[in-house]
Every structure is written in structure tokens, then in C-alpha cells.
Point group: C2
Chain length 732, copies 2
């Protein structure tokens, strides 16, 4: 039983960081605090806010540009395709449509496969893992950002069943990371003031801001964005962060509003308010009564069941896809292109299967719509008729959602069209997500859910007294909650999307039911993906078995932690760094013979900094405080560890000594060996620790020899060993 879970305790934690209650108390950092002037503190505060502003601004601008591109590409594509169909050149239409989609998918997939494999998928699980303490390599860099932007445009424009929402969250996080580091690689700004952000805590805070900004940009939901970060993404949360995140999302909203303002009156081509206001039902007066509770409950229960089923099947599909994708780049590319062809065929051919619906005279010139977005696509139908399925399928996914959500349209969509729509989007949703292009989960689930909601409304027509458009909204909410298991943030996102407060209680009700039902079957989709990716995740609640064993027992079953002496030989340090993957080492002191003392914990990155600087002592002595201070800046100590093999040392150097006093954090978090694992894990997570030392219960004094003493330190062990990021695979 324990063995299965032991991977958790080999948590591949990221490089040096000062998170939450983790304040590294070594001489150098302490000195650095005390020497910081007020001006520097103000500069730091100003920069923090400026960064949050920039993250919001850039995310907003990029989101607007992505929308602009998608709307225009899709719009032009659809226009041309419909023209061909109107000329009855059906084959030409299909080839044009499928070919263009193929090309767009090809661009997205090639970029993803060749330049940034980590840019595939939504990126949200990785952000979640990062904020939990696990750093996926090459996740938040410039290549990922660029590939994600272009790839998103390509993938969404190609008509595939995926959204730009997840990728926008990842884009926000990438921006935040790049800003906090002042860029990447050769292009990196090495401004002095940026050194403040060269630590994990500020970086993590900014990435949280970025993630919220992304959600906000995706749904124009500033409060929803903040809550999404709080509920779904972040592991540690501070009150101060609430405000800063909010500032970022407020900036995003202002940018988006400005953009809509500029693009009003068709100044941005096909782009109107299209990509931004998803569904606005604020002009509808909603009235519901006790009698509506029953069908609405049904929507919730079924939504939960469907969500759980979706999670289950998607899990299986992703496992299959993992096998395919493992076969190499070509396999990945082929898979993406195959899905694109399948999608094109489905979207193009299915509307031919449904009969044309005569236009209702009440809609006037709005029906049928030709050459613009609207509810009544004419497609293959004669004048005065419209193809309801084409109206849903031949649009961007956001337009489709808007159509299906539109109110006052109970009779607009036929039951069989909706069933076909639901079926095709179930299949596409399941088979599109895992391919190697940037893809979001939100929109596929919203599309499926809204169709499911409308179907329910049609089937239960006798009992339904609320608008069918609202049933579509409720269906989407139920399915999202059933699959993603968020509550408050989803509710607020829906509130901000629908811009109708009166819908709130009923939405809450549906969300709560769907989540409860879903939770009875399987974990949320993000947890499933985290698990599939082999990213260990420290859950807020310890598991049951953890209550029954102590940390001492657990530590005894693991390899012993490697300890260092306060003044250690260079060769020993190099050997330890080379032979272990740990990122932290307990440091022991022997003030008198026969006496051992826990001095503290030293980080791999600091040892590496010493090796790189070759700050060695010819003799075994304790240095004065100023010696290390003169030599090392706190910026240098904040650098990543790197590999030991980068440093070439001569035999003379290897024979010298390192004084670890200035680098040792003398107050690491310690727990007594008799503590239960459950309690230790909660402490570990609550305090956002990276290392925790287990000390023997024994606090007293007795006669001893050197030998006995060593055995006393038996349970002395790093509970959660910090490892280089490269070793993530061992947890997979």
C-alpha cells in the first residue's frame, strides 16, 4: 500500500525558491534583507504592480489579436465555401473546406511538434502543477508562447472542436514568466531591478496573475478569472494576491473593451463583437418557479453523469493517444491531420443530412443569413429556407455557442439536428483534445453541454417554461461542472458571460448537483490529465493511509538522506552533488568531539554557486561573515543550480574545503519522527515547503561515542526530497 504512494514523497520540486512561509534564513540572505534601502523596497513594490499591469495588458492585446485572426480566417473560409455550395459545386466546396482546414492544422501541428511539444493541449494542468511545486521543463518560455499564439489561431480557425480558452491561460502564464525574468536566453534583459523577481515566489505570483488574465481574456470574466485562479489553479494563496490578480484582470477587461470599441462598425474585417461577447442574455426577463426545479434538477444530474462519462472516455482516449504520440513526430503530425480531415468531413457533410427549415416570417431579412454570421444559415437550402445544422456547424465555435444560446428561439433548431450536433461534438471533443496542437477544453464541453441542454428542453417541452436558450446555458454549466468540478468560479464565469444576475441561483443549483454527481464517479478532468502526464500533485487532503504511519517509519523505508559537514571537502561536495538528485542537504556541525548538531539545510543551487565561483579554502576553518558577503550577491545565489559537470575542478581544488556556514539555512522546518505522515503532508503543503527535516524524538542527553551518535541520526532524513527537474520521469 505504502509503496504505491511513495512516489509522492519523491516530489520533484523546483529549484530554489522562497515561497509562503519559506524564508531562507542564511547569513547572506539575512544580510541582503537588512541592507535593502527604502528606495529599493518602493522600487520593488512599484515593479510588482507594473508587472501585474503588463501581464494584463499584453494578455488582453494578444487575446484580441488572436480573436481578430480567428474571426477573419474562419469568416473568409466559410464565405468562400458557402459560395461554392450555392453554385452547387459540392465537391469543390468540400475540397476547399477540408484543404484549408488541413493546411491550418498542419501549421499548428508542425509548430507544436517541432518547436514546442509542451505547447500542445491547454497548459492548465501544467500551470496547476507548477503552482503546486512541480516545474515541467520548457513550459513557460518564449517558444511556447509563440507556438501557442500561432498554433491556437491555426487550430481554432481550422474548425476543429477545440477552444482558445485553455491556450489563453497558458499564454498569460508564459507572458508572466517571461516578464518576471526579463525575457529568455540571448534576449534576456539583465536589469538590476529585475533581480527582485528572480525568485520562485514572485514568479509564481505573476504566473497566477497571468493565468487569471488568460481566463478573463477568454470569457471577458474578470471576477471569474480571479476565482478560477483561486479555486482551480493556485495551491497557495495569499490575500495580497487577490488584489493583484484582480488588477491584472481589470486591465484585461479594459483592453478588450477598448478593442471592441475600435472594431465597432466593421473596421476590423469580419471581426465584430463576435469573438468576445459569447452569449448575452441580459435583455431576457427570467422568471422561474418551483415547478421548474424538477427539469432543472434533471439537467444537473444528467450533466454530472455525462461529465463523469466524458472524463472516463477521454481518459481512455488520451491513454491511446499517448501510445500513438510516443511513436515520434510523424505519428503526432499524422494523428492531428487525421482528426482535421475527420472534422472537416463531419462539419461539411452532416448538414446535407437534415431537411431545410422554412424561415419564420417574423425574422424578416435575418433569415436566411448569407455571407455573415447569424442564426439562419442558408447553405444548401433554397431561398426562404435555412439549414439549422449548418447554422451551428458552419461557424466558429464561439459563434456556434452564441447561436445555440440565443433566446426566443425554441422552435429554431430541430431535435434531430441537435442530436446530430451533440453526437458529432461528443466524438470530436473526445478525439480532438489529445492531438498535438494548442487546444482548450472549455469550448468543446460548452458546445456539447449546450446541445444537451437544448435537447433536454425539447424532450421535456411539456414541463419546460423557461426559454430554451437558457436551458442551453444550464446544460453547458452542468456538463462543465460535471467534468471540471469547479463551482464558484464557473458560476461567476457564467454570470459574467450571461450578464444576468437572475440566472445565478438556478445556475448555482445546477452546478452543485452536477459536481456532486460527478464526484461520485471519478476525479476532475484536470486531475486525470495531471495523472496521465505523470505530474505528481500534492492534494490538500492527506490520504487515509497517511494517518497510520509516522514519518519516521516512512523515512526508514527510503534511502538515507545524505548529510554534509559545516566545513566540507570540495571533493565530497562534488561527489554528493553528482551521486544524488536531491536539491537540499542537511548540514551537521561537530562543535566538540562526540557531539553532533543539526546546523541546517543547504540548497544544491547554493553549493553549485560556490563551486562555480571556486570559493574554496585551503584549510578547514570557519570563515568570517564578510568573506562570503564580499564574494556572493543574492542574485547569484538565486540562479538555477545547473549541472555539476559544468564545473571542471583540478585535483588541488578538489582537496580544498568549503565553509557552508554562510549558505546554510539554519532554521529549516523540522518535524519529530513520531508525527504521522498525514500531519506532515498537511504542514508541507500549507506552508508551501520544499524540504522538511525529520528529527529524532529524542531531545535529551546521554553518554555516547561517535559511533552511537551516528546511529542516533538514523531517522534524520529529507522527507520530501527536492530533485532536479530532469528527474520528473521517475514519478511518471
Amino acid at each position: 500500500m505504502h509503496a504505491d504512494h511513495s512516489a509522492l514523497f519523491l516530489h520533484p520540486y523546483t529549484s530554489n525558491c522562497r515561497c509562503s512561509c519559506r524564508i531562507i534564513e542564511n547569513d547572506l540572505f539575512k544580510h541582503d534583507w537588512r541592507s535593502r534601502s527604502n528606495v529599493e523596497v518602493l522600487q520593488y513594490i512599484f515593479l510588482k504592480w507594473a508587472m501585474a499591469f503588463l501581464v494584463g495588458l499584453l494578455t488582453g492585446v494578444i487575446a484580441s489579436l488572436i480573436n481578430l485572426a480567428i474571426e477573419n480566417i474562419t469568416g473568409l473560409k466559410m464565405l468562400q465555401m458557402v459560395n461554392l455550395v450555392r453554385e452547387k459545386r459540392y465537391w469543390a466546396g468540400f475540397l476547399y473546406f477540408a484543404g484549408l482546414n488541413f493546411g491550418l492544422t498542419f501549421v499548428a501541428a508542425v509548430l507544436c511538434v517541432v518547436f514546442a511539444p509542451t505547447a500542445a493541449g491547454p497548459g492548465i494542468p501544467e500551470i496547476k502543477a507548477y503552482l503546486n511545486g512541480v516545474d515541467t521543463p520548457n513550459m513557460f518560455g518564449a517558444p511556447q508562447l509563440i507556438v501557442k499564439i500561432i498554433g491556437s489561431i491555426g487550430a481554432v480557425s481550422s474548425g476543429m472542436d477545440l477552444g482558445k480558452e485553455g491556450p489563453l491561460v497558458h499564454i498569460g502564464a508564459c507572458l508572466a514568466n517571461l516578464l518576471s525574468q526579463g525575457g529568455e536566453g540571448r534576449w534576456r534583459l539583465r536589469w538590476r531591478c529585475l533581480r527582485y523577481f528572480n525568485n520562485d515566489r514572485d514568479r509564481r505570483d505573476l504566473i497566477t496573475c497571468g493565468a487569471s488574465s488568460g481566463v478573463c481574456a477568454a470569457f471577458r470574466a474578470p471576477v471569474g478569472g480571479v476565482l478560477f485562479a483561486l479555486e482551480e489553479v493556485a495551491t497557495w494563496w495569499r490575500g495580497a494576491l487577490l488584489w493583484r490578480t484582480f488588477f491584472s484582470t481589470a486591465t484585461v477587461v479594459v483592453v478588450l473593451r477598448g478593442f471592441i470599441e475600435v472594431c465597432r462598425n466593421g473596421r476590423c474585417g469580419m471581426f465584430g463583437e463576435g469573438g468576445l461577447i459569447l452569449f448575452d442574455v441580459s435583455n431576457v426577463t427570467v422568471r422561474y418557479h418551483a415547478g421548474d426545479l424538477l427539469p432543472v434538477t434533471l439537467v444537473g444530474v444528467l450533466g454530472g453523469l455525462l461529465g463523469a462519462l466524458y472524463n472516463h472516455v477521454l481518459h481512455q482516449v488520451l491513454r491511446l493517444y499517448n501510445l500513438i504520440n510516443a511513436k515520434g513526430r510523424l505519428a503526432k503530425l499524422a494523428l492531428a491531420l487525421a482528426v482535421s480531415v475527420l472534422t472537416s468531413a463531419g462539419l461539411y457533410l452532416l448538414p446535407f443530412a437534415v431537411p431545410c427549415t422554412p424561415c419564420d416570417a417574423a425574422h424578416g431579412a435575418a433569415c436566411p443569413t448569407v455571407g455573415k454570421s447569424g442564426n439562419f444559415k442558408q447553405f444548401n437550402c433554397p431561398d426562404g429556407f435555412y439549414n439549422d445544422l449548418a447554422s451551428l456547424l458552419h461557424a466558429t465555435n464561439t459563434d456556434a455557442t452564441r447561436n445555440i444560446f440565443s433566446t426566443g428561439t425554441a422552435g429554431e433548431f430541430r431535435l434531430d439536428s441537435l442530436l446530430i450536433f451533440f453526437a458529432i461534438y461528443c466524438v470530436l471533443g473526445l478525439f480532438t483534445f489529445g492531438i498535438a496542437v494548442p487546444s482548450g477544453l472549455f469550448l468543446p464541453i460548452i458546445l456539447m453541454g449546450s446541445a444537451y441542454g437544448r435537447i433536454t428542453a425539447l424532450v421535456l417541452a411539456r414541463f419546460v417554461r423557461i426559454d430554451h436558450g437558457l436551458y442551453a446555458v444550464l446544460g453547458a454549466a452542468a456538463l462543465m461542472s460535471g467534468s471540471m468540478r469547479m463551482t464558484v468560479s464557473l458560476c461567476v464565469i457564467f454570470l459574467e458571460l450571461t450578464n444576468n444576475l437572475l440566472l445565478l441561483p438556478i445556475t448555482m443549483f445546477v452546478l452543485l448537483i452536477a459536481k456532486t454527481v460527478g464526484d461520485a464517479f471519478n476525479p476532475s478532468i484536470y486531475e486525470i490529465i495531471l495523472d496521465l502526464k505523470g505530474l505528481p500533485f500534492l492534494e490538500p487532503k492527506p490520504e487515509t493511509w497517511m494517518k497510520d504511519i509516522t514519518v519516521g517509519e516512512l523515512a526508514a523505508a527510503k534511502p538515507r538522506a545524505v548529510t554534509l559537514q559545516v566545513v566540507e571537502k570540495v571533493s565530497t561536495v562534488v561527489e554528493v552533488l553528482r551521486s544524488t538528485p536531491h536539491n537540499g542537504f542537511p548540514v551537521l556541525d561537530r562543535p566538540r568531539p562526540g557531539v553532533a548538531e543539526l546546523h541546517g539545510l543547504v540548497l544544491r543551487s547554493h553549493l553549485m554557486a560556490v563551486l562555480r565561483k571556486r570559493w574554496f579554502l585551503p584549510e578547514k576553518r570557519r570563515t568570517e561573515e564578510w568573506e562570503a558577503r564580499d564574494k556572493f550577491s543574492s542574485t547569484e545565489l538565486a540562479e538555477k543550480a545547473g549541472s555539476v559537470d559544468e564545473v571542471q575542478l583540478s585535483p588541488e581544488e578538489l582537496d580544498m574545503y568549503i565553509d557552508l556556514h554562510p549558505f546554510t539555512n539554519t532554521t529549516p522546518y523540522t518535524v519529530v519522527e513520531t508525527m504521522s505522515v498525514a500531519k506532515a503532508v498537511v504542514l508541507f503543503r500549507t506552508c508551501a515547503l520544499r524540504h522538511m527535516l525529520i528529527i529524532p524524538k529524542f531531545q535529551g542527553l546521554e553518554v555516547s561515542t561517535e559511533k552511537k551518535m551516528d546511529s542516533k541520526f538514523g531517522p534524520f532524513f529529507l522527507l520530501l526530497i527536492k530533485m532536479a527537474t530532469a528527474t520528473i520521469s521517475i514519478c511518471g
Copy 2:
């Protein structure tokens, strides 16, 4: 410097609780966990949700009834008063008005002064302190609940400048507490299932639910309520709580909606939608442009300044009031009644000072309004004219807010009327808050702020292109943010109040500016009140001096912690309990002569349980595990400590022994003496600890005698001593 802050370290923490990462690991509790069946676990989960539902339901019902009572009492009062004025019987009108107000205030104040002094004021600071770990005695009981309900009705109906919002939050918290304990005193239900809630963690969670429900009931803002609890009230927050709180507030909203539905068409007397929908501007199309940014920024900056000034003056007034209130019950009563007379005089007489305004023909029959609520009160004016100041002053505070917020009414209120309104409400707001009746802070600030907003709009009329009603909303938001310093929750509350998403970015902007400006001057109003009440509060951020001293140094400056032996004499235990106020004691073990070992920490409440049961041993021996298990149930151990003097022991009993093994939490949180106070405080707060042991840095072994050993344990000390609630005064 340290001495000033040392009160923080004598934190009067509440009785036994298992909070956050605090899992008490003693034999008895461990056994209790393991023996809990699945049925019991399910029962517990079900009960938790049922409790959250009940809290929401009851809060909603009580809020509705309070509204009903206030609207009807005030409505009838105003009707009669206006009739007297229309008959030109001005003196009779005044005497009737002032007399009725006097009577209503008298009822509220007498109840408060005699039966539940803690029911005065809003109660929010005490809830905040409770959730931070400080339990004010007699705060959440049945008398407080009843006095708060009746007192609120009386105080608000009496026309004083106070709101029902704060009291509603307190009512929610009282309900939650009573539910979790199954009632109080004689009426307490002693159902077996309720024992699950007999611990601090579940009680705290429920009180958080109650507080959110209260905010939700006050503003009909379910999401705002949750965020308020998260941002302002709660100290420790878990993801699971987000969902449960949300469930409570959703219930409240459904109840309120049902109530409005029932009361539609005047079936509840004067109560229409009045008390519930504060201000609805959803039917207004908001357009704002870059040019509006300047006046809006000004609203934010001035709002921040005014808010900080308000906090400062209120602080002084409250200090003065504290002196008066300390003089006894009669002084309290007299103060409340004096404020009531002052208020009545102001509200009645001031409208005579402004000229009548002719009705705009466009308003038709709506102007002037006689005998109902409306924007154009005729009062002393001839037909065809209205008194704009009377429209604001002769209404419930919620109606006044609705009037001042109403849109499309730029010319309705004269500048001089608004200035008088602002001035009178500034004075009343400052002098009303501290009196001995239940009173909220939200509404006075909203009233002041909305007047300030409209005044700004009138003064800047040339630059203002947005509706004046919206300026009133922004002014209210700015002043609230400037005084209360909340951001996200306020923003969401305003979003839910105004039901208009387009206002969000501009509201955010104003809130952020006002908070920043306010923060530059003084702390938030709640912090000021907490400080005045002498409630110690553990801030999330440690203070600067804490970084510079270690816990060892701090402990050395304090009286030594009292330790017990694992098997201790009864007389020693009694003596220790009697002579110290601590709520936890380190337990030492001496497995061999010359060896001391930290066994763990025992709670005062557990020692008291042992004394009450007289579970004594005739000889000094370690008991078997089953012996204690047979004797003590975990429910008994969860009881509050009580006083030592309740237990009368014979000299024979005093000479016997107690085995502390079964009761000792063998894994208390420990920190090394070299840890900085800052780090320890952050750990303490993050993990919601009640006790933390400081252990010597030394972990090694050496030859020693008994004497030396004792000196080794010198720094062994309870960092944050848990005391009986009765000793709160020492921190004041």
C-alpha cells in the same frame, strides 16, 4: 520595541480545537478516528451540508422578516408624520416622529445594554477575531441572536444612520454557532450526531458560512458574500469551504427570491421589493470613454482620502464613546437616546431649510409622491412641487440609497440639498456607530459616499458624461473602499447590487485607487475597531522587527513555560492549572535517569477532563492503552476546560498520580530556537496553530547530569500561550 508587541505572543487563544493542519495526535483521538465506521463518516458529511443549508435557510428567513418589520414600521411612521405635516401641525409631527424614534431606540438599546452587551455594533470585527483564533465570550449565543434581531429592527426603524448589514452578518454567525452546538444551555440538543461538530474546526467553518450568508442576505449578493468571507473575515481558508459557503449563500438567495415573490402585489403591507433590491441600474446602457477617466479618478482619490479621514475621526469618536460607555448601563442608554433625538431633529427639521422644487411634467403622476415610497416627496411643499431633501431623509436608509442611486435624474437633486444630506450623514455616521444598539457600517458609508458621488458629478458637471446615478454608485464604492479597504468582494457586491456588468471595470478602477490612497494613511476600519476592542489579531504579514530576533531570544524574555511529567502527581497538576493561565503544557519523559525527552503537549481541557473523571492512579505507573479508552469518549475530551475550582479533591486524591500518556499530543509543532520570530509567526498563522514548542538547536549527545539537563531545556517554551478566554483583558 519588542515589549510593545509582546502582547501578540500572549495570544488568548480559544479552547480545544483541531484546526487546519492541527491534528491532535494523542492515543485517544487516534483510536477514535480508526474506529469511525463508514456510516458515521457519511453521516458526518451529510450533516455538514445539512448544517450549511440550514444556516442559509434560517439567515434568509430572518433577513426577510427583519426587512418586513423595518419597512412596515418605517412606512407607517412616515405616513403618519407626513399627514401631520400636510395638516401644517409641524410640532405635532415632530413630537410624533421624534417620540416614536425615541421609543424604538429605547427598545433596541435596553435589550442591548441589559441582555447582550456584545450585540451592540456590527459584530464583524469579533467574527474576524474569532476566525483568527480569539474567542470573545458570549458573542455567538442565543441572547445575542435574539437581541440582534429585535435590536436591529428597532434601531433601523428609528431612522438612525445605521444599517442592518453588519448585524445580519452577526446573525448568520450566531445561527451557525447555535446550530453547530445544537442550541444553548438548557435548550441544547444532545444528539449523538452533533458531537461531530463539537470541535473548533467545524464550528469555524459553519461560522464562516453564516457570515457569508449574512452578507448575501444584506446585499442579495451570493458571490459577494462568499468573497467577503474569503477576503475580509476568514483567516484560514480551504478550497472545500468555498463550495460549502457558496451553497449557503445560494440557499439565502433562493429564500429571498421566494419571499419577494410572495410579497409581490403588496401582500406584505408596506413591503414591496423595497428592502431587498437596493439599486438596480441594469436597464441603463452604460457608455464611458477615455475622457471619463479623469473625473472618475478624482472620485477614487477623494474617496480614498475621505475614507481615511472617516476612519481617523471615527477612531477618535469611538475612544470617546468607550469612556462614556464605561460609566455604566445608564450612560450607554443615555448616549443612544441622545443620538436618537439628534437624528430625529436633523431628519425632521432640515428639509424645511431647502426650497421646494417644481415637478417636471415628464414624471407625471409620480411627482410629487404622497403616501408611498418614491423619488419626489411632497412633504411641506404645495401640490406640483417636491422637497428633494425630504425625499432622501424621509425614507428608510435603503430607500434613500435607491433614490440617490436612481438614474436619469441628473437635475432631480439640488446641490445644496445634497451638501446638507452629505453633512448630516457625515455627522450622524460618526456619532451613531459606537452607541449600544446593533449597527452596521455599510449603509452609513454607502449613504455618505453616494451623496459625495452625486456632489462630485454636479460640481464637475461640465466634464461628466455618465449618468449622475452612476456617479453616486461610484462615490459609494470609493468611500467604502477608502474606509473598509476591501477590493474584490466590494466589487462583486457592487456588481451584484447594480446588476450591470459593464460597470465592472470602472468600479474596479475606482476601488483600487481609493484603497491605495486610503492605505497610505491608516489601517482599515475593521482593524481600528479590533484594536480598540483589544482583540489581538495575527496579521498575515509579520512585522519588521520580527525578522531580527529569534524565537529563542523572545522566549528568554518571557516567563518560563511550565512543564509536566508523563506520570504526574495530581497535586502538581492542580497547582499548575491553578497558577497559570496557559491552555497547553509541554510533557517531559525521563525514560532513563539522566535522560529527558520531550513527550508532547497536553491541553488544559484534557487535564480538566481527567480531574473531573478522577481518573487517578494509586501508584506511579504507565497505563495500558485500553484503560483510558474505556474511560474517556472523544466527546468528553472535546468539552471546554472550565475552572479548576469546580473540582473538589480530597488530600488522598491529591496524593495520587495521573498518567498523561493517553492525552498527550505526541507530535506538537516545534521550531528550533534559532528560527526568526517572523518565520515562526508565519508558520503559526498559516497552519492555524494554537501552540508551538521551541526546542533547543542542539540535537546531539553529551555527558550530563540531571542539573545540566534542566538548563538545556531553558529555551523550551510555549511561544504562543493559549489562555482562558477570561484573560482577554491583558491584551487590551
